[in-house]
């Protein structure tokens, strides 16, 4: 169940190491942000650092960019120790959370900046700028100033400005955080397609679990500077290693026993009436828990049924699809059962 499919979508490529973080710690004053962290990132993968704010994911990204330095530990980029190299000497580029576009330059000048710094010949500059303008559909805006553009367009400029340098790794710090829901959805797909098309290594920082699940080849879930789990999205969702992961990604129900906790996703909980017709053929196992429906909330594709368990104050939630015969209503008595294959055990 723990098989790792890091390279989904590009498994014909060899898994070459691109970045290696070794024994990274970070202290701000007496504040230990990252206690001790190792992580390897492979060439061509879309890796997401996922966690709540303050978990150290952005600090980690900034250390890879060179904007922060680890207190101890080493950072290797393509087998070269870059730990003490300043950002302007590293072959990585970053898409900043609030874009950080230069307000006194046009879109084209913004994009050209990195190439000018690297003294790329003028002819080649023109060519490469034209390429990314096409790629990001910004051709008609090339002479605009960033302030004259919408958030989504500015986002595209920020991506174009980083991509044009052909970096070994593209770092993205919550790049879609400031955009509205619909636009975010569209850009998520665009970004994913872009990454696949170019075969570039992306390191993506977000606190949005849905975003992480839809875009990533691999997700590293972080909490308090520690890696909680490092797996492909499927494994992360279906087989969380820890309580934290189960709680942070999607909804979960926890059933405690003496030394372990059972985690069961709401869509895996099945409901049945408390007393079933004796005559009816038993098609499922005996319910493990009984309870009373407290609330039913309509979510379009599903009903969320909230149930208070007998003999405890715990409330669990079950998703009911409408192909099920019965729709539940509050105060009904209900039995809860699940298949053994759907339970996940976590110990911490």
């Amino acid at each position: 169940m723990q098989t790792k499919f890091f390279m989904k979508g590009c498994d014909n490529k060899k898994m070459e190491e691109m970045i290696r973080l070794q024994g990274i710690t970070k202290k701000y004053g007496n504040n230990l942000i990252i206690p001790n962290l190792d992580l390897t990132i492979y060439d061509g993968e879309f890796l997401t650092l996922l966690g709540p704010s303050g978990c150290g994911k952005t600090t980690l990204l900034r250390m890879i960019a060179g904007l922060d330095t680890p207190t101890t530990g080493k950072i290797y980029l393509d087998d070269e120790d870059v730990t003490n190299k300043p950002p302007y000497k590293r072959d990585v580029n970053m898409v900043f959370q609030h874009y950080a576009l230069f307000p006194h330059m046009t879109v084209e000048e913004n994009i050209k900046f990195g190439l000018m710094m690297k003294k790329v010949p003028a002819e080649e500059q023109k060519e490469r700028v034209a390429q990314v303008l096409y790629l990001t559909q910004l051709e008609e805006f090339r002479n605009r100033r960033p302030q004259q553009m919408s958030g989504g367009q500015q986002q595209r400029v920020a991506i174009a400005r980083a991509l044009v340098n052909n970096p070994k790794v593209l770092l993205l710090d919550e790049p879609l955080g400031a955009l509205d829901y619909q636009l975010r959805k569209n850009l998520q797909l665009e970004l994913k397609n872009l990454q696949r098309g170019l075969g570039l290594t992306f390191i993506y920082v977000t606190h949005d679990q849905e975003e992480a699940l839809t875009m990533s080849d691999r997700i590293v879930v972080m909490n308090k500077g520690v890696i909680e789990q490092d797996d492909d999205p499927d494994t992360i969702y279906h087989y969380p290693n820890t309580r934290f992961v189960a709680k942070f990604i999607g909804e979960s129900n926890f059933f405690e026993s003496d030394n372990e906790t059972l985690v069961i996703r709401p869509e895996k909980l099945n409901l049945c009436p408390e007393y079933e017709d004796e005559a009816a053929e038993k098609t499922h196992p005996e319910p493990g828990y009984y309870g009373t429906v407290v609330d039913v909330v309509f979510y379009g594709t599903i009903d969320k049924v909230f149930i208070r368990l007998d003999n405890s104050n715990q409330t669990v939630v079950a998703y009911q699809y409408f192909d099920d015969v019965k729709r539940w209503s509050p105060d009904e008595r209900v039995g809860i059962w699940w298949y053994a294959k759907d339970e996940v055990r976590v110990t911490r």
Partner: protein, 285 residues
């Protein structure tokens, strides 16, 4: 809207009485003649303005411009690093830093000028010290020359350069510098390509303040420059007090005012062309 106009009426009245009317009087006097004893005769003449074109006065005007330009450039060169330093101090040290820049304003400017005289004169602090240390036998002549005037001007006007530049540096989004660094710009290049252009408005505001103030300055040349160096400010002062030639003094004042006005207009033009982009942004959205 009608009420709004009424509300500004007192301010307009105040402005007219204390600003517009005196200005009109100066304009009127600048076109008037005078008796040999200094009495003003109201007859229309442009003689006062034509007199300004005499080589002697043009020379003074040119000297004034040169001093103003040097003062402005020197305050930029000295003020920018100071403003930068204060703006990059930890937040709690910025306020004290600014107060240190402004403290001299609490003391009358004339007194501060005389303080310089005490420091620089032949039996002054510096000369006494150097003589006691045996570094010099003869006191140095540090006062009553062009260098002394420049020193006094730069000292007096430096805060006017530091404050606007400080504001523009303080407002600069540091993430832009991170972005520049990420895109391959060394700290020096990032300063040249990002910090400097984006803090230009501060430099421009400081330039206007310092340049215009130094054009009209007469205390410093008077106190620290001695009789030798006369700038246009001193010339105007002399016309009103010593020569009792009010019409000529008024004409000189108007010339100076018009020049300052032209500079301010140029400044706003430059500012508007920069912000023109922002106005367009609203059309797009």
């Amino acid at each position: 809207m009608k009420n709004g106009k009424l509300m500004v009426a007192p301010a307009m009245l105040w402005l007219s009485i204390f600003f517009v009317i005196p200005l009109l009087i100066v304009v009127a006097v600048s076109f008037a003649g005078r008796t040999p004893y200094g009495q003003i005769i109201f007859e229309f003449t442009t003689d006062n303005y034509l007199r300004f074109l005499e080589p002697l006065y043009l020379q003074i005007f040119a000297d004034t411009l040169i001093v103003a330009v040097i003062t402005t450039v020197a305050t930029i060169i000295m003020g920018y690093p100071l403003a930068y330093f204060i703006a990059r101090l930890p937040k709690k040290w910025q306020q004290p830093g600014l107060i240190l820049v402004m403290i001299p304003f609490w003391i009358n400017f004339l007194i501060r000028s005389y303080a310089w005289v005490i420091i620089l004169r032949t039996q002054g602090v510096v000369n006494t010290l150097l003589m006691k240390l045996g570094l010099i036998d003869q006191p140095l002549q540090m006062l009553y020359n062009d260098a002394a005037v420049m020193l006094g001007m730069i000292y007096a006007l430096l805060p006017f350069m530091v404050l606007p530049i400080y504001v523009s540096i303080e407002q600069l989004d540091l993430r832009l510098l991170e972005a520049a660094s990420d895109l391959g710009a060394s700290p020096l290049t990032a300063f040249r390509k990002i910090t400097l252009p984006l803090t230009m408005p501060g430099i421009a505001a400081g330039t206007i303040l310092v340049f215009i103030s130094s054009l009209g300055m007469f205390v410093v040349p008077d106190v620290m420059g001695g009789a030798k160096s006369a700038l246009i400010g001193n010339l105007i002062q002399n016309q009103f007090l010593a020569a009792r030639d009010w019409p000529f003094g008024s004409a000189l004042s108007i010339v100076l005012a018009v020049m300052s006005l032209v500079l301010i207009i140029l400044y706003y033009r430059a500012l508007q062309s920069q912000e023109g982009g922002k106005a367009d942004a609203k059309d797009v959205a």
